[in-house]
Amino acid sequence: MAERVEVDELLLDPIRKTGRGFWIAFVALLGLIAWGAAAYLTQLRVGLGGTGLHQPVSWGFYVTNFVFFIGISHAGTLISAILRLSKAEWRRPVTRMAEVITCMVLLVGGGQIIVDLGRPDRLLNVIQYGRYQSPLLWDATSITAYLTASTVYLYLPMIPDIAILRDNLRGKRNFLYRVLALGWTGSERQHQVLNRAITIMMVMVIPIAVSVHTVVSFVFSMTLQPMWHSTIFGPYFVVGAIFSGIAALIIAMLIFRRVYHLHAYLKPIHFQYLGQLLLVMSLLWFYFTFAEYLTAYYGAEPEEMKVFWSKFTGHFRWQFWAMFTCNFVVPILCLTRLKKNTVPRVLIASITIVIGMWLERYIIVVPSLSAPRLPFQEGSYAPTWVEWGELAGSFGLFSMFYLLFTKLFPVISIWEMHEGRHQAIAEVMGRVKSYLPDQTAPVAAAAREVAP
């Protein structure tokens, strides 16, 4: 264990020491949160009239943010669960950061719906009088399940690391570590129990995550609004979520790699693989988008075409084409040929994708509401400082949660790195050997002659 700590001492540094950079970041984030708080307090005081919402566009930034932030939460599941399940060894330094994103962003995402309510004081009505015919209740159940599962899936692999912290760090936080380590001693039986639980969780978390963004999409597709009532929404939203999640994860990894000097752990090869995944998701996203719009265009239903043209050439063309550029054009340009300049390419792609995916949610929510079927007052939605502030504050809150997490727990899983060094190599060698043909007599004879 002493060996483990010395080799990975760097990973304990952010917990031991706090530099000036942390305080600058802390104050900056506090500023964003303060802006958000001011915005929300204004909204509580005057009502939702402080936003740019109106009839017919009664959903805008907040619902966009809701879908966007919940979408980003799919980062954790993909990397952590699917890569663990497929025994991809390169996931080791990445899983903790991914799992943390999921938990923190789910809290912020769920909060968006509360911010959107006209009567947040009556939130408990959903618990007391909930109707399961409403997609919002499906959302509530699904997101609760996902939050529970993700928190568990974050906590369980952290237990051995917390034990390391308990044994190596003194100070006020030691009590917290002692409690959370649950008396971990690293015994055979404890490892068995833990690994079994992690295995079950990693299988469970995947369908739960898929269900979450599917039911979020159902909020739109279960209505009769033009270009919302589409059967493709379920898979479309899930693909978009994974897409934006990987991009957000890459950005988080690059930030912490820089400020915590994790270059030895987060190597270009990790970003290369993540970048390739991102490219695949970009192509998948394009495929779904193409299918969606081609179907609408070919059918040429007048009310759908009103919304369609408003996106392609009308009022929303800036956002629509910016979205397309950010989600497809830039990623294709950046993410092919990743062997050189991996990190800058992957960073640019990720930042544009995060912006592009936010625009994609906006393009789904607002245009359909702006062009109602009846000749109503057609509305033009313009967000106010309250909504911008809420977005800034949400982003700040999420980042603050993340930042504080890294001050308490290691952002890269120490025991999994250790396991990778000492067990995984032998395991992988054994696996590859099992794929190849077993030794037959001629091969063995040749080997005996050649081997020293």
Partner: protein
């Protein structure tokens, strides 16, 4: 897997009172799955009962709960298994 070493020589020994506090918190954590997930399951059943009473699409409530309740029960069982499994092994040592 190497067993973890004991604490560094300079680290102070925890007092027995502190030890007990830690243990109380740990057992409290081990009980939260039942409270939390039990509460959720109770809530879902309450919603089923309400929809039956009001004849308001009970099929929706029952359908959703047929999926969600087993998921929550499994989560609770996994949590209880791992939390108590890790906690109790310490005593056995």
């Amino acid at each position: 897997m190497m067993a973890p070493q004991s604490r560094l020589p300079e680290a102070p020994q925890p007092s027995p009172g502190e030890d007990r506090m830690v243990r109380i918190f740990q057992y409290a954590i081990a009980c939260t799955p039942v409270v939390f997930i039990g509460g959720i399951i109770g809530w879902v059943t309450h919603l089923i009962r309400t929809s039956l009473k009001l004849h308001d699409v009970p099929s929706g409530a029952i359908g959703i709960s047929l999926v969600s309740i087993p998921v929550f029960i499994t989560l609770m069982c996994v949590l209880l298994y791992v939390l108590w499994g890790i906690l109790n092994d310490r005593r056995a040592r």
